[in-house]
Symmetry: C2
Subunit: 356 residues, 2 copies
């Protein structure tokens, strides 16, 4: 179907490891034209293009999407040909730190009631501010299990097979009609993505809440604890007490919260599966650990904070999650100080706990 | 009294920051002769002596105790003049890692039924293996609030006033007679220490369990969390959520455990006092953080592990303490790997959580 019409017009926001590989798959399939918005790597890519080392596509030198910009374009709402069909967001999520917020940032490029917004990001409740800002647009979920990182500006190391799921975030207020359109938008993107060929696995996701809570089993446990301990997941598994004392209790708390807060059934057996999900031999460092090692902000509010708040409202006891959240907030404080978002006073005068 | 007799003979085990300042105070008072057992700094001290920068004593160049050894001496039990009156241990405590254990290590220098063993170390239940090994010897507690570190071999930076408390560990089996002797041994050491003059505050501690649980309020909270977060105590206080979410709950759990497990009453108000105990302006890094930064072993078993086990036996709920313990065990695992105490296998074959 999609292959008969004109290519879909995609604006990609966040062209690091994951974003660039999404753009590459879409462009390679021939059913999409991608305009990528770059920030830190704009100059490098303008000069040398992207250089990709991919587990799926091999080495790709001098690759460039259809178009590259260094800021979000403002779409002329009156010119039909200018509309973006999709705005795909692959940046990390730092609610409360990002200014402007992501919905505000992309708004100039979004045609109300038309453009589908695709969030290829981790965590739960990430769609809420987009539903609030764009109540008549399809808001789509992208969950990817690929591993990819930008090792230096424009240099992409794609080290884990691209397995990506695209579906529809259930809307609190959508009509049956809106829902049908959103599903069609999701399926059309899956088609354009899959046109790349058998190197990638892109699948329609019929149950986004389930998929997101399922992935949260890993992201609310291994990802956060890895950042706190500075430890890859294989070492955690070898040091069994970290699994028994922290990882499994966290997964159990997420499972209980998924059921109570979202009526999502995560089977008990899934926990043991998730504990050994990573290939032991790879000594994998989850994303938050990679960010912590680089002194970057930690993407923990939608991975740990939101499930904790959901648990609170659903009256589920999640002591381990609460504890991990407190520590991640402490690590985030350090990153915020490093980036000048907070200034620690030299004396304790007037502070709540300043007195000596 | 003490000043009329011959100087007491002291063997000091562990002559880093704290140990060297204890030796200096004792020797300066003229009522003690200190033989110090050195390990990593032996060569440096043999060559250049100690060089001390002290908040209490000023700069002291080329200082040397009465005698320096590089291993624990074996005392000739038949020669009365050879006995040590005191063996003072100021090393850190790493039960399960140290080989041989501290009691085994010092045994050759201890005259059974005679030598008083003084543990200037943090935590609770540290006396147990000494009572087991030396059932007829006085086992004394030293709690110091001085701050001192060896910045390089033989160079001592003594940055916080020497305030030290010496008392008797209650023995599970001592007779009234043994108790009286132990108290006399403690008071005699306080006298010898105090002979140094008003630069130091050395006091007899009439209630060791109270003093140790009181200090644990700080050591089981700030000390462990500082190591986990890599953060000084002033930053934790400025980032109020770390106090509210972690430090105060930990102190409350220690307070409840002290009461239930040891019948020690720590007043509620003490918690707020302890929260602001450090001078904010100093941005103090507790000892475990200093050790973590240097990749050293963490002294957490007697500071966090033992209160946790006491809480378990007394059926006190200590969820925060339990999580802190799990994480510290994870950090210790990293230190053990670094020092070659564990080898992480390259593949997960045969491991409990190895399968992929």
């Amino acid at each position: 179907m999609g292959s008969l019409g004109k290519p879909v017009r995609v604006l990609l926001v966040g062209s690091g490891g994951i974003g660039t590989m999404v753009a590459y798959a879409l462009e390679t399939g021939g059913q999409a034209e991608v305009t990528a918005v770059l920030r830190s790597n704009y100059d490098a890519v303008q000069e040398n293009y992207f250089h990709i080392y991919s587990v799926d596509h091999g080495e790709v030198a001098h690759w460039y999407p259809t178009k590259v910009l260094n800021s979000i374009p403002s779409v002329d709402k009156d010119s039909p040909g200018a509309h973006y069909d999709y705005v795909i967001v692959t940046t990390k999520n730092f609610p409360g730190i990002q200014e402007p917020s992501l919905p505000e940032l992309i708004a100039p490029a979004v045609t109300p009631g038309y453009t589908a917004i695709v969030l290829i990001q981790n965590g739960i409740n990430i769609e809420r501010p987009f539903f609030a800002k764009f109540p008549t647009n399809p808001i789509l979920s992208g969950i990817t299990f690929m591993g990819a990182a930008e090792t230096s500006p424009g240099i992409i190391n794609h080290y884990n097979h691209d397995r990506t799921f695209i579906g529809v975030f259930p809307s609190p207020s959508a009509s049956k009609y809106q829902e049908s359109l959103a599903i069609a938008a999701a399926r059309c993107l899956v088609d354009a993505y899959s046109a790349c060929g058998s190197q990638v696995d892109c699948t329609y996701d019929p149950d986004v809440p389930y998929s997101r809570w399922r992935k949260l089993l890993y992201n609310a446990s291994y990802n956060g604890v890895a950042a706190i301990l500075g430890m890859d997941t294989s070492r955690m598994r070898f040091a069994e007490h970290i699994i028994d004392g922290l990882i499994r209790p966290l997964m159990q708390e997420i499972r209980a919260t998924a059921k109570a807060a979202a009526n999502v059934d995560l089977k008990e057996e899934l926990i043991e599966t998730m504990i050994t999900a990573d290939n032991y031999d790879k000594f994998f460092k989850p994303s938050m650990l990679q960010d912590a090692e680089k002194g970057r902000f930690l993407e923990f509010e939608n991975l740990v904070g939101e499930p904790l708040r959901e648990a609170g409202m659903a009256k589920v006891e999640t002591p381990t999650l609460k504890f991990v959240y407190s520590l991640l907030k402490g690590l985030q404080f350090k990153a915020m100080e490093k980036h000048g978002h907070v200034v620690v006073p030299k004396t304790g005068e007037g502070l709540k706990y300043g007195g000596c």
